[in-house]
Symmetry: C2
Subunit: 549 residues, 2 copies
């Protein structure tokens, strides 16, 4: 998919990256503009970054877009977080940028951040990022996971996955590397990522502790966090809610603790018989993160790993602790979001969100799925798209994707795409259900294109134009078929939309919206119709016996 | 997937088809039995038919399982429909069979059918079918569409698609053929289908009318219906709700009429300026269908074809007419279900079901999806799985699947599988949310297998064992990996479930469920733990530097 493809070339995706201009210098907000055969264009949110610009020089390093704004803030002194600025009543360039992307007033972005109901993850050391906001008042966002593991993958592959993920619409990425070149992999991703990057610092800390949770310490962890803050990580999953007293609550669970970080901290707690140092040292963590404006993503280390464990005591106990911690973070002007499950059957989803919003004062909820059933490994992007759409409709602000490889193995490139697509679907279904202004315009534009048989427009407006076009071409590849008024699904005679066009013209021509006109002179009108050639339905040429007229 | 595979052979799916015996001769009810490595077995609903029996001789023709029961009913005289029997207080062999499959008392099946809240589609001329019941009190069912079109496909391919669809769990199939060998294709499918087969008679009728809707007539249609009844079609989509006065209501829609049958009848109405003959002759249709016990599937010819048209005037006007017609059918002892949309955003789904249940006296609702958004052609099995799960949770009894090829072209074999899997997921997610007894046992069994690292059991319990196994093997193919206590997702050091096992043992051994014991002597216990070897976490051998103990 290239941005420089001119509009209308058959078979090539036809969109371009355009820019909205804000009030301040440098606020150039990317949008994806799909040019239609009908002459108009449709603007869609774009996450693909400067890679989609015709002028992009190649390579995987981006210009430090936000550097001037960051420098300005540093020069002024005081707390550099977006939350502090919002509380002071300021609309930062980042807020304006995000607001333009959302199509909302910048003041709304500021107010939601000030209230702690939204976050704008933007580390001062990640100037390459294009600002975006996460909160229930805004478009539902999608995170894609990537990262090396001990068993496979390389840094170059992860940068490629990042570029691939944002091409399909990922709003953030998380680098979950647990392999050996964690620092280098992360550096490459950060320097090349136009979207916020999240991490789970305990993974790298554990590597430093030789892979032994009991050998972890606050000092090792703290130094790891600082290292990652210095590189520019925008948000961090921190399992500060895994309290010693919560751990036994998992003993009777069907699948125990499924969070890597949660299990690591649980093991540490039990080995030391001490309270989780992430909890006891939380204020110090706040002091560190606020210096860089790194957003807390309070980890759900005790999230349920199966339908049976959903909304259980362990999960809810941790949630309450996360609520307490969110308030401590707020006192430090730190931005905070709250992580959530996991595996939740549909009937328990609304309650989940209600509780989280209540105990966490409306902080943004960031869930992993949830899977609405456990029976389909290999298809967990679908089992969880169902739960994700529902939980986002109820107010979840960001969805962490799940790929087809979930529970089975490390996702490859195609899995990343499938996960992102499934989650963009879930997110948008929720935007529609929430009545987000502008959301429906996308569906309407595509439906118009479909109804008017503007096939190329339908493909180009689709979440995945390449696949839509290729599926169509599998049965009707000829270029002429793209303007034909039927497709292989029903063939020329049975195309409902074909017939509908005729029906509509006929109804309109005869004023059939007037019930009285219908009742009057029915037979007369039928005769008239036949005299005029009976052209209610235009049979198209096909292989069977034709009956003209 | 063969039924004769002995339990435990590595790499092969390990299940067998077993039978529950009813009280009457010949009531042998198939179940799928998955044999577990742990020694037990799990029983799942099975739709794959006698093809899965070790004794199956091959070929595509099934024994006339129901013939004795049908013969008996014919001999006794009177109305042969399941509904008439239920109203007389009878539990037919078919009802008992279906009840055993559902794990519910046969009287429940009878009562729901008598009340019109369930249907058991079983034409007297389709004795090969294994009885099943459709209704909100029962497991949510899934239909797979197949059929030739003018542009592609053959009868042999359609029979193969039918066998493929039922292997993956389709509860019924609909033969939507519009090509030239409609009769022969349908015959082959019926003789070889263990599941009910539905059709849309107007398609074949239209072929007989030379492809011109205005040339249709009641006589042509009636004769087509009789032909199909004689062959054994179990249920028929009949667009008797497309009234002349409803048609203008579609004039201002974004995507008009998207139902093939609906558009055909609308065209006929306008051409003749007469009321839809399916409506005016409905009582005669009832007289025909009741002779064979063919179930009405009252077609939603005016269903919305895009998000924007959902729940509009045209759709709801037709729905009210369908309610009226359902009552006429009931007066004739005919079984009836009501078809539904289509494209419906999540926030309009509950209302849709509520209205249908109200105006149609609780008749089973049979929806096509619905798609929760229009933006992802190529992925409409997912966009609609979201809507389908939701609408089934709210009470829809059967879901008509949607494949990745929806809106783009004719589905091939792989698309059929993807559609069925996505819809089995949606149906089961709804069963769980509805609290259907026994539904959760499947999720629990698979989660147990996952937590205990019984990989083969996890695969064999999955909706698609082949894919689950193959995805796992992509990164960890060695047989030893199937019993290893980690997978490539996190690697040996980070496997949460691995750590959890240790955490759990430790918590239990030290009575940590008692909060007081926790508080007392923490340091003492820590020292004790270290003395005992500090074995909270067992590092497994991996390529990195190892630290023993």
């Amino acid at each position: 998919m290239t941005a420089s493809t001119p509009a209308g070339r058959s078979g090539a995706t036809s969109f371009r990256r355009a820019y909205l201009t804000g009030s301040r210098p440098g606020v150039r907000v990317p949008v994806r503009e799909v040019v239609l055969a009908s002459g108009g264009s449709v603007r869609l949110y774009d996450t693909s970054g400067p890679y989609s610009d015709p002028g992009h020089a190649g390579g995987n390093v981006l210009p430090p877009l936000r550097a001037p704004w960051i420098g300005e803030r540093a020069a002024r002194g005081g707390c550099v977080t977006q939350r502090a600025a919002a509380r002071r009543g300021e609309i930062t360039p980042e807020m304006e940028f995000a607001a333009l992307r959302e199509g909302v007033p910048p003041a709304l972005v500021r107010d939601e951040i000030a209230a702690g109901r939204a976050v704008l993850p933007a580390n001062v050391n990640h100037p390459e990022s294009e600002p975006m906001v996460i909160g229930r008042a805004f478009l539902v966002k999608v995170n894609a996971n990537l990262g090396t593991s001990a068993v496979t993958s390389s840094a170059a592959e992860e940068v490629d996955k990042m570029r691939w993920a944002i091409r399909w619409g990922a709003d953030t990425v998380m680098d979950l590397s647990t392999g050996r070149r964690i620092h280098q992999t992360r550096e490459a991703i950060l320097r090349g990522s136009p979207v916020p990057v999240g991490t789970v610092p305990v993974y790298q800390a554990l590597e430093k502790a030789g892979g032994r949770p009991e050998a972890l310490s606050w000092e090792i962890y703290r130094d790891t966090v600082i290292e990652q803050c210095e590189q520019g990580v925008d948000y961090m999953t921190i399992h500060a809610g895994v309290l010693l007293r919560h751990v036994p609550l998992t003993a009777r669970r069907r699948t125990g603790i499924v969070s890597r970080g949660g299990s690591i901290m649980a093991a540490w707690c039990l080995a030391h018989h001490e309270e989780n140092f992430l909890y006891t040292r939380f204020a110090e963590l706040c002091e560190i993160l606020r210096r860089y404006d790194v957003t807390f993503s309070l980890g759900d280390g005790l999230r349920p790993g199966c339908i049976d464990d959903a909304n259980d005591e362990a999960q809810l106990a941790e949630l309450r602790t996360l609520g307490d911690l969110a308030r401590v973070a707020a006192d430090h002007d730190c931005q905070v979001m709250i992580e959530g499950p996991g595996h939740v059957p549909m009937h328990k989803i609304a309650e989940n969100v209600r509780l989280q919003q209540e105990v966490c004062d409306g902080a943004p909820f960031y869930t992993l799925g949830p899977l609405a059933t456990d029976i389909a490994p290999g298809y967990d992007h679908i089992t969880s798209a169902i739960g994700a759409a529902l939980i986002a409709w109820h107010g979840t602000a960001m969805l962490c994707y799940v790929t087809p490889k979930e529970h089975l193995g490390l996702p490859g490139r195609e899995d990343v795409k499938q996960g992102v697509i499934a989650y963009k679907i879930a997110a948008h279904a929720a935007d529609l259900a929430k009545g987000h202004p502008g959301a429906k315009a996308w569906d309407d534009a595509l439906s118009d294109a479909r109804f008017e048989f503007r096939r190329e427009d339908q493909f180009n407006l689709a979440l995945d134009p390449d696949t839509a076009r290729s599926y169509h071409d599998q049965t009707l590849p000829a270029p002429a078929a793209k303007t034909a008024h039927f497709c292989s699904m029903c063939g020329p005679r049975f195309c409902a939309m074909r017939i509908t066009q005729d029906v509509r013209d006929y109804a309109r021509a005869r004023g059939l919206s007037d019930g009285d006109a219908l009742a009057a002179g029915m037979a007369e009108k039928a005769a008239e119709f036949t005299r005029r050639g009976g052209r209610i339905y235009l049979p198209l040429a096909d292989a069977g016996p034709a009956r003209p007229g």
